[in-house]
């Protein structure tokens, strides 16, 4: 399909969202009822053709270029449409299947992923393997046309709501004696398979946003391997690249957050307070810089450039920015003892600000998590210094 102009597309998206975005914000997805409502919304989005505008049409996308994709996201956040809940599928597995999946796998998994019939989660971390991911121990032993999986994953985001997991498993333990990154395989597993047990874990704010996943003699068909057997590390690195790299257009989300912060500054009578202005100015600057970065990376990608070396810088930057936004908000509320909860009762608070503040605590804690998941900030600094800047390696045992 030849794409309409960015301006026309923007207008089309804006009109569609105005008609379809639920008038009342959806309840949080962190319990089943809220999650189901988000799933329903995702279905609407899919039917409208907006689940993943940048994906090829043959997989249910619109084949849109990056400028259109950015415009879509800007409109999506402008309309304050619901949070996307199939992040593992949409931003991680989907792109990985485009790169490493077989045609059969793409046809099998992508449409359901886009419509949110299947929610995907990411099974990388284990109790003993976080930053040192390549030390993972979950085993998969070949038995005819199946693998038999035993082991455990942990901190699995949305694990309690997911239908499938893409997991890293060790298929060749001997290879690890030479090099721990060898002998790992990227395997997709249906969570309804006998032997899988998912135990939701409460997060620091009490919500059940992640889970532990246990595998006991779980039989998984060999055709669920993505990429080559024993070569899963490469696929995992590509997944992490997507997780750390730019999501084109998400700057608009942070601009909303800063606008909510400004609303708060105004409501609290701090509009002439030079410290509050400085704090508000700082986070605004950070989001504007992030917007510039998104535009730059989009231009680079469109020119066929390689974004690999930008992923860690991007992740370290946006997670620190996000933390700064939410921590600043809590600081500005400090007079109330960081009791932000519900502002709706306060005089002069408009609906948008009140909504934003209703889950400010939740968002704050998520910001703290973002500096840990997808590779901690310290790991990003290691990568930036050694792989991007080429500083001498830490003397290390392998």
């Amino acid at each position: 399909m030849t794409m309409i102009s960015v301006a026309e597309f923007r207008a089309e998206v804006r009109a569609w969202l105005a008609e379809h975005v639920p008038a009342e914000p959806l309840p949080s997805w962190t319990d089943q009822a809220g999650f189901d409502q988000h799933r329903t919304w995702e279905r609407t989005l899919f039917e409208g053709g907006y689940a993943a505008v940048d994906w090829p049409e043959e997989y249910g996308g619109r084949g849109a270029g990056l400028q259109h994709t950015i415009a879509f996201a800007e409109e999506y956040y402008r309309a304050r449409a619901p949070e996307r809940v199939n992040m593992g599928g949409l931003y991680l597995l989907g792109p990985v299947l485009m790169q490493y999946g077989t045609e059969e796998q793409r046809r099998r998994w992508i449409p359901d992923l886009l419509s949110c019939r299947t929610i995907w989660c990411q099974g990388f971390s284990e109790p003993g393997s976080g930053s040192d991911l390549a030390s993972l121990r979950t085993r998969a032993v070949r038995d005819g046309d199946h693998y038999v999986v035993n082991g455990q994953k942990i901190w699995t985001s949305m694990g309690g709501f997911a239908d499938w997991i893409f997991a890293l498993v060790r298929t060749d333990p001997d290879a690890a004696k030479e090099r721990k990154h060898a002998g790992i395989t990227f395997l997709c597993i249906d969570l309804r398979t006998p032997g899988v047990e998912v135990r939701p874990l409460a997060m620091v704010d009490g919500t059940e946003g992640f889970a532990e996943v246990f595998f006991t003699d779980v039989h998984v068909p060999v055709e669920n391997v993505v990429g080559e057997v024993d070569q899963g590390w490469k696929v995992a690195m590509s997944t992490l690249g997507f997780e750390r790299g730019a999501v084109f257009g998400d700057h608009a989300k942070f601009s909303n957050d800063v606008a909510a912060l400004a609303g708060l500054v105004a409501v609290r009578g701090l509009a002439e307070d030079s410290l509050a202005l400085d704090e508000l100015g700082r986070v605004l600057v950070e989001t504007e810089v992030y917007r510039a970065n998104v535009y730059r990376l989009a231009a680079l990608a469109e020119a066929g450039g390689n974004l690999d070396s930008t992923a860690s810088i991007n992740k370290l930057y946006w997670t620190e920015m996000q933390h700064d936004i939410f921590a600043t908000g809590l600081r500005l509320m400090a007079e109330d003892g960081a009791v932000v909860g519900d502002l709706a009762g306060l005089a002069g608070v408009d609906a948008v600000t009140a909504d934003a503040w209703r889950d400010w605590h939740h968002r704050y804690w998520y910001a703290r998590a973002a500096m840990i998941f997808g590779g901690t900030s310290e790991i990003q600094r290691n990568i930036i210094s050694e792989r991007v800047l080429g500083l001498p390696m830490e003397p290390r045992r392998s």
């Binding site: 105004a266 509050a276 202005l277 504007e288 930036i384």
Partner: protein, 340 residues
Amino acid sequence: MTETLDIDRGELEQVTGDLLARHCDVAHLRDRLEAGGAHAPALWWRLAETGLVSALVPAEFGGAGLEPAHLPGVLHATGYHALPEPLLETAVLAVTLLAAFPDHPDADARLGGIAEGSLLATVRFGDADRHVAFAADAHLVLDVAPDGAVTAYAADQLEVVPAAGVDPLRPVAAVIPHGAGDLLGTSPDVAAHVRDLAVAGAACQLAGAARRLLDLTVEYVADRHQFGRPVGSFQAVKHKIADVAVGVDMAEAAALGAFGAEDAHDRARRAASAKAYAGQAADRANVEALQLHGGIGFTWEHHLHVWLKRTMSLTAAHGTPAAHRRTLARDLLARIGEEE
């Protein structure tokens, strides 16, 4: 359009980088420091000869008629090489102001003079501006008043009072006109445009200077050994440098994207954000660069201080980070007020 822009832009940046690496190297900077003056006519002639000074001068006045959006990489290179010449002031700010009033009887002489390299100019933003860069070397000072009035003063129509600036290679001064000067015209739009160019231009230079601090530091810690290994292999050192690198990279994204941006409202916001952020990032680069060079970096003999001082000077130029943050915050508060 965008395609040729990209090609020209990349080429210009390359040409500038090569030229400055050769003719504005550490030896040249040292020489200027010893001589006690920043500007060197021979280097300026080279810049003019290469076409950098006349890049934005409209074709009918003898220039290449390029757009500001062609130049962010060039300005970045001037920061990277700590160029001690008024390229931003003359070739961007003064040219834009003069070209905005093409019917003025002296437009031809002034723009022509700049284009051929015989006229140095700088810009003062109203009489509150006590930090006019390169004022002592300028033949022409253009004043941009808050109401948008643009007035030209020849060197003999004003007094230049040098300020005790931190960077001897980017001298700043107060400029006190003797008479009424020569009013080119009044245009708030032109004034705003040039102010944004100054802010975003300084941000590009700042990002370039900060990039140099990063490169010097990366190079040094990879080379310097203590405890039997390069100091750059210590994680405490690496993590500081990684933070500096993020700041520099993002400052580049913001500054290079802001310079020459078109939409007037967006342009001001992008310029101010870029300048505020570049200042913050450069400050970080400055602190860590000296810290990680240790004693050698604290000597006059080592050239690190050239960029330490350049980043400080540029951070203060055309609005401090704190001033831009406040302006941006006020602007956002006004915007959300309007939406209600």
